[in-house]
Subunit: 299 residues, 6 copies
Amino acid sequence: MADKIRNLEIRGARNVAISAVKAIENAATHTKAKTAEAFAEELLQAKEVLYAARPTEPLMRNAIKWVIGSVESSQKDEVKALVRLISSSACEFLTNLERSRDRIAEVGSKRINNGTVVFTHCHSSTVTHLLTKASKGMKTFRVICTETRPLFQGRVTAREMLELGVETTLIIDSATRCCIKQADLVIVGADALTAEGNVVNKIGTAAIALLAQEARVPFYVVSELLKFDPATLCGHYESIEERGRFEIWRGAPENLVIHNPAFEVVRRDFIHGIICEEGIIPPHSVYETVVRKYPWVLM
Amino acid sequence: MADKIRNLEIRGARNVAISAVKAIENAATHTKAKTAEAFAEELLQAKEVLYAARPTEPLMRNAIKWVIGSVESSQKDEVKALVRLISSSACEFLTNLERSRDRIAEVGSKRINNGTVVFTHCHSSTVTHLLTKASKGMKTFRVICTETRPLFQGRVTAREMLELGVETTLIIDSATRCCIKQADLVIVGADALTAEGNVVNKIGTAAIALLAQEARVPFYVVSELLKFDPATLCGHYESIEERGRFEIWRGAPENLVIHNPAFEVVRRDFIHGIICEEGIIPPHSVYETVVRKYPWVLM
Amino acid sequence: MADKIRNLEIRGARNVAISAVKAIENAATHTKAKTAEAFAEELLQAKEVLYAARPTEPLMRNAIKWVIGSVESSQKDEVKALVRLISSSACEFLTNLERSRDRIAEVGSKRINNGTVVFTHCHSSTVTHLLTKASKGMKTFRVICTETRPLFQGRVTAREMLELGVETTLIIDSATRCCIKQADLVIVGADALTAEGNVVNKIGTAAIALLAQEARVPFYVVSELLKFDPATLCGHYESIEERGRFEIWRGAPENLVIHNPAFEVVRRDFIHGIICEEGIIPPHSVYETVVRKYPWVLM
Amino acid sequence: MADKIRNLEIRGARNVAISAVKAIENAATHTKAKTAEAFAEELLQAKEVLYAARPTEPLMRNAIKWVIGSVESSQKDEVKALVRLISSSACEFLTNLERSRDRIAEVGSKRINNGTVVFTHCHSSTVTHLLTKASKGMKTFRVICTETRPLFQGRVTAREMLELGVETTLIIDSATRCCIKQADLVIVGADALTAEGNVVNKIGTAAIALLAQEARVPFYVVSELLKFDPATLCGHYESIEERGRFEIWRGAPENLVIHNPAFEVVRRDFIHGIICEEGIIPPHSVYETVVRKYPWVLM
Amino acid sequence: MADKIRNLEIRGARNVAISAVKAIENAATHTKAKTAEAFAEELLQAKEVLYAARPTEPLMRNAIKWVIGSVESSQKDEVKALVRLISSSACEFLTNLERSRDRIAEVGSKRINNGTVVFTHCHSSTVTHLLTKASKGMKTFRVICTETRPLFQGRVTAREMLELGVETTLIIDSATRCCIKQADLVIVGADALTAEGNVVNKIGTAAIALLAQEARVPFYVVSELLKFDPATLCGHYESIEERGRFEIWRGAPENLVIHNPAFEVVRRDFIHGIICEEGIIPPHSVYETVVRKYPWVLM
Amino acid sequence: MADKIRNLEIRGARNVAISAVKAIENAATHTKAKTAEAFAEELLQAKEVLYAARPTEPLMRNAIKWVIGSVESSQKDEVKALVRLISSSACEFLTNLERSRDRIAEVGSKRINNGTVVFTHCHSSTVTHLLTKASKGMKTFRVICTETRPLFQGRVTAREMLELGVETTLIIDSATRCCIKQADLVIVGADALTAEGNVVNKIGTAAIALLAQEARVPFYVVSELLKFDPATLCGHYESIEERGRFEIWRGAPENLVIHNPAFEVVRRDFIHGIICEEGIIPPHSVYETVVRKYPWVLM
């Protein structure tokens, strides 16, 4: 199981979390542990392996906390009962995640009217879910998306939009400033939410936020609240993954330094609202809202 | 000759201007005109062909004006004499261009000290000339350059820097915000200078200027004053070339709109100084300096 | 009753809410319903009629929710008892509203000292209540108010201030920039508070907020928390009433388009504090404070 | 003549200057002076009377300087010859003024394309001349104009635009912020240009400039260079006329202070370009351009 | 006891609070009161004396409230029991204070890595505690501190840092702008936290905050939440102590006005985070966090 | 002579320049040179000694250029005649300097009216000359000046103001933000003007400029145009003198780094106008104005 998890090649905070939850559920179902203690030990190991596999995935970590937490706080003794607990809390988590995404789509799609021009960056399944909802609500809007170097995830977004029948324009990342004035709003996803109210998202997002501000275009982030990273409350910076040089230039001269950070931080001052399962809230309230809604995340 | 010019595949404002001047000189040398009048007519045709080949190249236009202007203002009658005039003024122009670039390198390289980190975008021969000068002056500095989508001219800059032995970092365009704080200054080239004091340069430059301002990093433009476009004084916007979609995505879905502007305008407010053959001047003074130094450009 | 409500010509969020509450109480008192069910049905109709009469009046909506809610959550069966419930909760709402206004005046008037210059816009009974309190506290201050086109409500504010003996200056709306530097603070009212922490108020308020920021003059909004619009949490924009062209220019050429929005949104970034019944809070906390104090508003 | 001038009821810097020049020419033509000295004395008196009639009209002052200056620098002795000189220089001034306006219209109208939305404030004959030129050039654009309290000159602009067949929207001054994002550019006139590069124009202009900047909408000023006020070079502030209270509120309470400044200063930082007879220049260059083109203004 | 308290010469919000708590405990221990009533009366007097001794010390006030509050809410009758209650709640407060400081140091020191340059102002024992923690964690960082006129508390900070073996640079206050770009973050202490989310700290802090923002350097405040001043919720401005002229210039000319405010307000917009015992939170959440954690402060 | 010059202990750009000119004149008068060549050689040596004595004093350098330049461009052969030339050009320079200062005072004092509050920093004889002029013009204004650490030159300014009978307030440098809103304008001197339009002045000036901008207070610089440093045109940064540590803290711990830069650069964007002998001009025009008025400075 450990290997399977380590090599998981799933992309996007959401998919990673879902896989991790399923992996744990699977491991639990096939457990050979005889005692509750041994079972708990196994879970702990699974958790450690998963944490190590993906160092900065708050949604995955919160998901694991949710699922394994049910066992930790249970007073049952029998392994079978605990396995059932894992299954039910895994199911609960997945349902919550589904419902959050639907709620976000419902809330966020109200910001899109006929004729609206939406600017987005990279590919976020939460954003495209929202746009799908708006499109199925028979609204005729237009999308501008960046290609999103180095991996061109913007092309994925563009294809999905075209399949919905939405008029779509693709630009290179550095053409943002000359196109953003046409947009009525920016909507992007998130990889993590911090205690300060900042958002971690794909590299390039912070520049878009600044350019949106310069052009008075409102900038929204869609995110499940469970992307909140409790470690940031304790002073940890959200760590930024440095990815391989080949993603940017295969065959680059060897003595060339290639710096390839995957994410960056968008300061709360640039964000008009976080569209989450609670509705649209200011980024400054993310911490308070998590305290109120998911207090166990902070323990 | 017309065809040769039309198909010229030379890149960069500077090279285009040099080629155009040489083409005219060549055409003049091989003229079969018998009278000054017929010769002038030929030159006029050459000019029109060249203008049409490259719609927005102020340096080329000013170059042609310089060279053909010598005949227009001459009172000689003999074709041979006029041909010699063309040759000498072509030579004069090329010498001036060379000297301007050297002067720019000399002035600008003073801004680079040991340990300086220079940020640049795209590839500009004037910028790399300046950096070469600094490097040969035995200064040890570091360069950060963007890859510059869609055509990756940043790679050309990176190679040139590495050949000089300069430590070089390459990043994707959208990583600018997270790297610019390390830079001590930004230096970019220019395609055109406008009467308002703005600068036209490769797409992406304006966002870099804004991000440099946000991080209090001075932003310099190097440019020969002959890139001044007198049409902007009369209210013309510098027209922005829209390039082919295939540059961005070969095999893109057909119904996807791909918008690919080649240049954009950087407002004077973002520019700390224009490094030109006159020295470092505020962008606001470009027009006055051109009036003083090259009054014929404005006629 | 429906007709009476539809034609109500009362101005100001506060007065509209009071009238609606009284209308419901009145309707309840004169009910001919025999069963709790029939009574509830009547209330629902009254509510719908009132909602339709004024599409964007969160205070009125929250008032109705408060009053009718008492019946909805009651387990009583007898119509008479329910009527009494309506009466008592109507009374409770009105008392709360009164007390909120007094508390706002008490808190806000502490910001006014001898010699303070207060800038205000339009006419807000909550603002003038606050200024009355300050004036009765024997403080000698000065008020600058805009005339507030198109309906000149600023004149109402000016008259009220003069009656209090406060030295008052009236200016046209577009003289704001040249006068605001004299002001020590800006105080305006609100028509709605949004989940993002923004404020909806009379057209012209957002420009004043920007000009106040440019001159480093603190900008305060006074508002009862019950002006919070829960629909904004769900993604609805506060809808902006478009009023008649004749308000601006009677006898305008027919083919002239006259755009006359009554309100506009002031972003939280421009607001130093919301002075509400809880005290002075950052606009970012409005949502959390409502959750804590009036949780039923969000249900 | 003095009386006629003092009571002149002509509006707009341009019309005032034209009337003053005609008044001087008329006075000169009917002179009874026998000697050049007496004639010069008469002119001096006329000048003083005109200066006193309108304290802050740089265009008028420069016009008078132009016309009377011809006599001052002349070495002729005969009164008749001097009268002829006045006539010819008056004619010269008027022709220059006409030509400047045409040139401004020609240059500025290039900024207007099909579909462009132009925002303007108050009524400026130079602006409407420019828009007329654009409209006659068969471009289909749209104009948004403020009503411009207190005297509603925006209605004059609106009527002129409708007569040209231009689609026109009129708004109250304080609706600027919510409409300016639709605009592609702002064009306003000027009453005076200062040595610092600032512009004096109708009250309300500076707020529009700030709001345009906030929304990244370019802001242009059209002005003949002869509106340059040389007194500002010597440290004088352009004085701002305070107009009557009745313009704002007839029947206002007597103890109400009504502050009614007619103009305000727009700082050069907000101005993208001055469209003048020289072309489009940065406001920072106005002083240098006047030095070069009208050096006598500074003497 | 009253005298001892009045003359207390202790500096720093923290030390003042500790002394006041000890003074009360001491007074309680030596009480001669026979009845609970008399004892309560004594405590009230002690409180009043202490409040009067230091008009604006929210931490001291909250400390006293904490300690005396235990008696007020107790239902015991016996004086001895009440004295024990005072002792135990005094001890509790001091422990909480200690723990808060440790937690702040733990959280905040995570922001400091090897090579980090920290900028600080004045002397704050909470800041130096944090830096000590970072230094003992074997991190090699650098500190820049201002001298902090007029009393040169920056020298105290510098000495403490040098003793820790930290490389330290001292500058005059007005050299901040030219040094702040070298800093990776700013950390300062606080004298009071306000309901609006602002921070009161040593004069000079607000300018540093603005300069940090201009250079994109994050600005953090460390503060125990009990520095929250509940009076600010009710509209009171935090009052700013005006100190003696001799601190600035002994022997100044008598007719010279010397203005010497001890503190100033830093607006929440400039503050990246408040590092408190709860972790790092946005300043906008201070009020909500206090409501949640120390509700009695607001009563 | 060389020694005398090297040890000159005169402060202020103006006084240094005057002394240097007098030293050269004196040296010339006592020359023992027999030939023009020998005399020129002597002058060259004097120039080199003076340049070395004070590395960054553009006014002194321009002064020496002015005086020695007269000999260089002369065609006279006789030493006596050349000595007379030195004397007369020295006299000419000093007269020009005097006249420039008077003109600056005349122009700048017009910005001061009754009731105006002027904020200034450090001590500048040009600023106090201006204020003296305003004061003698019977205007009643108020001055706020910073103490200007480390050498307290602000006290000199304060004393001079008090002697004029001007109401004066002195504050510590870091109290600028809390006092600047009271000011109507800021006026400071300059040590150098650069080709980019920036100004070099006493450390602390740039922060004041930023704080003035934040509070919408206009910021003026008074300076003779001969403070223009032609080396900045060629790319040299104005070098910033690092002064002794003892100026800041006598007896500081030895391992404490004390950084004590004497000057800093104020960017043109913060400067409303340069008040020079030509009048009030935008800083952007300094270079063009020098080209026009003192072309020899650029040779």
